[in-house]
C-alpha cells in the first residue's frame, strides 16, 4: 500500500531529479531576462529610418537639427552644421518627462483673466511676461495687448547687438560661457579656430579650461577689466579691482587692438558691453545690429516692450507668464511687488518647476519638439554678416491633448484673430522677395524671389531656414552710461556663479538622473565653496541675494576661488539671482 511517506519520497526524488536537469537553471536565467524586458520598459520603434529637419527650441540659438525618425517617432537628434549641446541631443526625451504637466483648467483661467480685464481700474494693468521676446508669438502677444486697455508687454532685456565671430582675431570673454552653450554653439565652434580666446573669470569654468588664456580675476570684477580695456578706467584702479597685474591688463588691451578685429563678450550683451566694443572699433566687423525678419504691415499696432522696473508697484491685475519656451527668467522677488493683492497669475509651462510655483492658474504648454514656432533674432550672427533670419521649430511629435498655446490664449481673450500668424509672417517675408532659403535635406540654397509662396512655406515647415540679404551695419546705436564700479564696502561680498550657463533649461529625464545620482554635476541645494570660506563640508547655510534667500548645503571645492558661490542653476536659484550675481552666505 502507498503511504504518505512514499509520496514524500517520490516528491523528494523528483526534486533531486529536476536539479540534475537544465530546467531550474534555465528558469532562473529566463526570469532574469524577463525582468530586463518586462512590460513598461520603453521600446524604441524599429523600422526604416528617415531624416527630418527642424531647429532646436531649447534656447534662442535655434541650432539646425537632423532628427532620425522611425516612422513618425524621433529616435535620435544630431546637429546639421556643427554639433548640438547635451540638452539638444536629448531634446526628444522631453515629451515623456515624468514631471510634465498634462492637465490644467483653461476655462477657469480664461474666465479669471477676463474678469481681471473687465474689472480693472485705470491704474490696473494686464501684463504678459515673455521669456523669449522677438518671436512671432511675441508679436501676437504685443498685438493682443495693444488691443486691450492697459496692456503691458514685459520681457527680459534683449541683447543690445549681435556678434559675428567669423572675422574675429581676438575675443575677450568676461565670464561668458562662450564654449559652453553661449549664443549659437554651432556657429561659435565653427569660428573657434579663427580667433584667440582670452577668458576672464573667477572660476576655471569649462570655457576657461578650453580658452587660449585664462585670467583668474577677482569675483565680480570682470566688468572692470572691460572698462579698463576700453580705456574708461585706469590700469591701477583695474588692477586693484581685478587682482591682475597692470602689465597683464595692458597686454590684454594691446592684444585686442593689434590682433583684431577684436570682440568683447559678456554673459549679457548689454549696451555697456557694446560701448566697450565700439571703443575697440568693432562696430560693423564683429559687432552688428540684430536684424528681425520682415513683419506684416498690419502688425504695426503692437504694445511696446516695457522693462519690469518701469511698472508701478501693485499695478498688475493680471499677469500671464509665457514659459512655454525657455528664456532668461526674471527673479520672482522682483515681479511679486508689481502684482496687485488680488492679481491673477497664469503660467503657461511644461512643468511645475518654474513660475508655475507662484501662479494662481497653471496651464500646460507643448514642449520641444511638439510645438510649431519660430526663433528670435540670433545673438551670434551668420558668418556672412548682419542679416535677418527666419527659422521654424518644426514639430517632430504631436502634442498631447489639453496643451495651451500662450499667444493663442491671449489673442482669444483680446478678440484678436492670430491663428495663422506664422504663415502671415512667412508671407510678408516672401512678399519682400529678398534673401534666400536654405533646405538642409539637399543642402540647396534658393533665392526667395524664385519661389512660390506655397513652396516657400512648405520648405520652412520641412526645417528650411530663410536668411535675408546682408545689410550695412549703419551708424552705431545710442549707448547707456556706464554703471558705477562697486565699492569696497559692498554688502554682498560674494558672487553667485552657476555650473550651467544660461537659464535652467528643459532637461531630459536621462540627464536629470545623471545629474542627481552622480557627482558629475553639482546637485540642487548644494553650493561649492572654497575650503577657506569658513564653512565645513555639509554645513547648512542660507544663500541671500537682493531678491531673496534659499537654503543650501556647503560642498568644499578647492577649484572654487574665495568670494565665489558656485551653484546649479535651479528654479529656486533663478528666483533669487540678479544679473550682477551679488550674494552672501549666512550660517544656520
Amino acid at each position: 500500500m502507498t503511504t504518505r511517506r512514499d509520496l514524500f519520497k517520490f516528491a523528494g526524488g523528483s526534486a533531486m531529479g529536476l536539479l540534475l536537469t537544465p530546467a531550474p537553471w534555465r528558469l532562473i536565467t529566463d526570469t532574469a531576462l524577463w525582468s530586463e524586458n518586462w512590460p513598461g520598459i520603453p521600446r524604441p520603434a524599429r523600422g526604416e529610418i528617415r531624416a527630418k529637419f527642424t531647429h532646436c527650441g531649447l534656447c534662442a540659438a535655434g541650432c539646425a537639427v537632423r532628427a532620425r525618425c522611425v516612422g513618425e517617432q524621433p529616435v535620435s537628434l544630431a546637429g546639421v552644421e556643427g554639433g548640438l549641446c547635451p540638452f539638444g541631443v536629448t531634446g526628444h526625451h522631453l515629451p515623456y518627462h515624468p514631471e510634465r504637466l498634462r492637465h490644467g483648467n483653461r476655462p477657469e483661467a480664461a474666465a479669471a483673466v477676463a474678469r481681471a480685464i473687465a474689472n480693472s481700474a485705470p491704474d490696473r494693468r494686464v501684463a504678459v511676461l515673455d521669456l523669449q521676446p522677438g518671436r512671432t508669438a511675441s508679436w501676437t502677444c504685443r498685438r493682443a495687448l495693444a488691443a486691450l486697455k492697459n496692456g503691458v508687454y514685459l520681457a527680459p532685456e534683449e541683447p543690445a547687438c549681435a556678434v559675428n565671430l567669423a572675422p574675429a582675431g581676438t575675443v575677450l570673454s568676461l565670464g561668458a560661457p562662450l564654449l559652453d552653450g553661449w549664443g549659437s554653439p554651432d556657429r561659435v565652434f565653427r569660428a573657434r579656430s579663427g580667433f584667440r580666446l582670452i577668458q576672464a573669470e573667477a572660476v576655471e569654468s569649462r570655457t576657461a579650461a578650453l580658452a587660449d588664456q585664462w585670467l583668474a580675476v577677482q569675483p565680480g570684477s570682470e566688468s572692470v577689466l572691460g572698462r579698463a580695456v576700453a580705456g574708461t578706467v585706469g590700469l591701477r584702479q583695474a588692477a586693484e579691482a581685478t587682482g591682475l597685474a597692470e602689465a597683464q591688463i595692458a597686454e590684454v588691451a594691446r592684444s585686442l587692438r593689434e590682433n583684431g578685429p577684436a570682440l568683447i563678450v559678456a554673459p549679457e550683451m548689454t549696451s555697456e558691453v557694446l560701448a566697450w566694443n565700439l571703443a575697440l572699433g568693432a562696430w560693423g566687423k564683429t559687432v552688428l545690429p540684430r536684424r528681425e525678419a520682415p513683419l506684416p504691415r498690419e502688425w504695426s499696432k503692437a504694445a511696446p516692450v516695457t522693462p519690469l522696473a518701469a511698472v508701478e508697484v501693485g499695478s498688475l491685475g493680471a499677469l500671464l507668464i509665457d514659459e512655454s519656451v525657455p528664456g532668461a527668467p526674471l527673479p520672482w522677488a522682483a515681479i511679486q511687488p508689481k502684482l496687485a493683492a488680488d492679481a491673477v497669475v497664469v503660467a503657461f509651462s511644461w512643468s511645475r518647476a518654474g513660475y508655475a510655483r507662484h501662479a494662481t492658474h497653471v496651464l500646460p504648454a507643448a514642449v520641444y519638439p511638439e510645438a510649431l514656432g519660430d526663433l528670435p533674432p540670433a545673438l551670434v550672427a551668420p558668418s556672412v554678416g548682419s542679416a535677418a533670419e527666419f527659422r521654424l521649430t518644426v514639430p517632430l511629435v504631436a502634442a498631447p491633448d489639453g496643451m495651451t498655446d500662450p499667444a493663442e490664449f491671449l489673442s482669444a481673450v483680446a478678440g484678436l484673430d492670430a491663428k495663422d500668424a506664422l504663415r502671415q509672417r512667412a508671407a510678408a517675408i516672401h512678399a519682400a522677395a529678398r534673401g534666400s532659403l536654405r533646405t538642409y535635406a539637399d543642402g540647396k540654397t534658393s533665392a526667395v524671389k524664385d519661389l512660390k509662396f506655397d513652396d516657400f512655406w512648405k520648405a520652412l515647415n520641412a526645417g528650411g531656414s530663410w536668411m535675408g540679404e546682408v545689410e550695412n551695419s549703419g551708424k552705431s546705436p545710442h549707448l547707456a552710461p556706464a554703471a558705477p564700479i562697486p565699492d569696497a564696502g559692498d554688502p554682498w561680498p560674494l558672487r553667485l556663479s552657476t555650473t550651467q550657463p544660461g537659464a535652467p533649461a528643459l532637461v531630459s529625464p536621462l540627464m536629470t538622473k545623471l545629474w542627481q545620482e552622480s557627482g558629475l554635476r553639482l546637485g540642487p541645494h548644494r553650493a561649492a565653496l572654497n575650503p577657506r570660506a569658513g564653512f565645513e563640508e555639509g554645513a547648512r547655510a542660507v544663500l541671500e541675494t537682493p531678491y531673496g534667500r534659499c537654503e543650501i548645503q556647503a560642498a568644499l571645492d578647492g577649484s572654487v576661488p574665495p568670494g565665489v558661490v558656485l551653484v546649479a542653476y535651479t528654479p529656486e536659484i533663478a528666483d533669487i539671482r540678479g544679473a550682477d550675481g551679488c550674494a552672501r552666505l549666512v550660517r544656520i
Binding site: G12, G13, T21, P22, D30, L33, E48
Partner: protein
C-alpha cells in the same frame, strides 16, 4: 528496498520532466502566416538572400521584406501551387501585410548592426541564421514563455545560437586568427557599449 523505489521513480520522473518535458513546455509554438519556401525561391527563381533581405539606403537592415517586395513578383500567380494562390488571395490582392514572426530578433537592449557584419566582416548569412536559405518550409516560431525570447536566440540542434556568449566566442575566435591592427583583431576588442546601448 521497496521504500527506495519511490525515490528512484521520482528521480526518473524528475529527470524525464526536466530533460524531455521542460524543453517542450517552455516554448510556445506558432505557425508562420504563410508556408514560404526559401528553397523554391533560391533554386527556381535564383534569388539570393540579399535580394529580399536587403539594406535600406541609410544602411539599416530591412529584415523581413514587406508585402511590396513580394507583390513586385507575385502580383499575379507565377506558378500553380495552392500556397501561392492562397498567399495572393489573402495578402497581395487585399494589400494586407503578412504578420511574419521573426526568428532572430534580438531583445531591445541589444544593438546589432547587420551592415557591419555582412559588408565589412564578410560574414555569410548561414553563419548566424543556419541553413535557412535551403529550407522548403518555414518551421513554427517558438517563443520562450518566460523571457519572450525566440528559440533561435538560444540555438537548437542544427542551428547556431545568437546569445551573448555566441557573439563573444565568435569575436574572440576572429581576433585570435587576425594579425594585430587588422579588422579581425579589432573584432576582439569589444566593450559592453558596442552592443548594449
Amino acid at each position: 528496498m521497496r521504500r527506495n523505489i519511490f525515490i528512484a521513480v521520482g528521480l526518473l520522473a524528475g529527470l524525464g520532466a526536466g530533460w524531455a518535458g521542460f524543453p517542450r513546455a517552455i516554448y510556445s509554438r506558432r505557425p508562420q502566416p504563410v508556408d514560404f519556401s526559401h528553397k523554391v525561391h533560391a533554386d527556381k527563381a535564383g534569388a539570393k538572400c540579399e535580394d529580399c533581405h536587403g539594406f535600406r539606403e541609410d544602411g539599416s537592415f530591412a529584415g523581413i521584406p514587406t508585402l511590396d517586395k513580394c507583390a513586385s513578383c507575385h502580383a499575379a500567380p507565377m506558378g500553380s501551387t495552392a500556397t501561392e494562390k492562397s498567399f495572393i488571395d489573402t495578402y497581395v490582392t487585399p494589400g494586407r501585410e503578412p504578420q511574419w514572426l521573426s526568428y532572430a530578433r534580438q531583445p531591445e537592449n541589444v544593438y546589432f548592426s547587420h551592415i557591419t557584419h555582412v559588408k565589412r566582416a564578410q560574414l555569410k548569412c548561414a553563419q548566424c541564421h543556419g541553413d535557412e536559405g535551403s529550407a522548403d518550409h518555414l518551421r513554427p516560431f517558438e517563443q520562450d514563455r518566460v523571457s519572450g525570447y525566440s528559440r533561435d536566440i538560444w540555438g537548437a540542434p542544427g542551428r547556431p545560437g545568437m546569445k551573448m556568449d555566441d557573439c563573444v566566442n565568435c569575436h574572440r575566435q576572429s581576433a585570435a586568427k587576425g594579425a594585430a591592427g587588422t579588422l579581425s583583431a579589432q573584432a576582439g576588442e569589444r566593450g559592453c557599449l558596442d552592443c548594449h546601448k
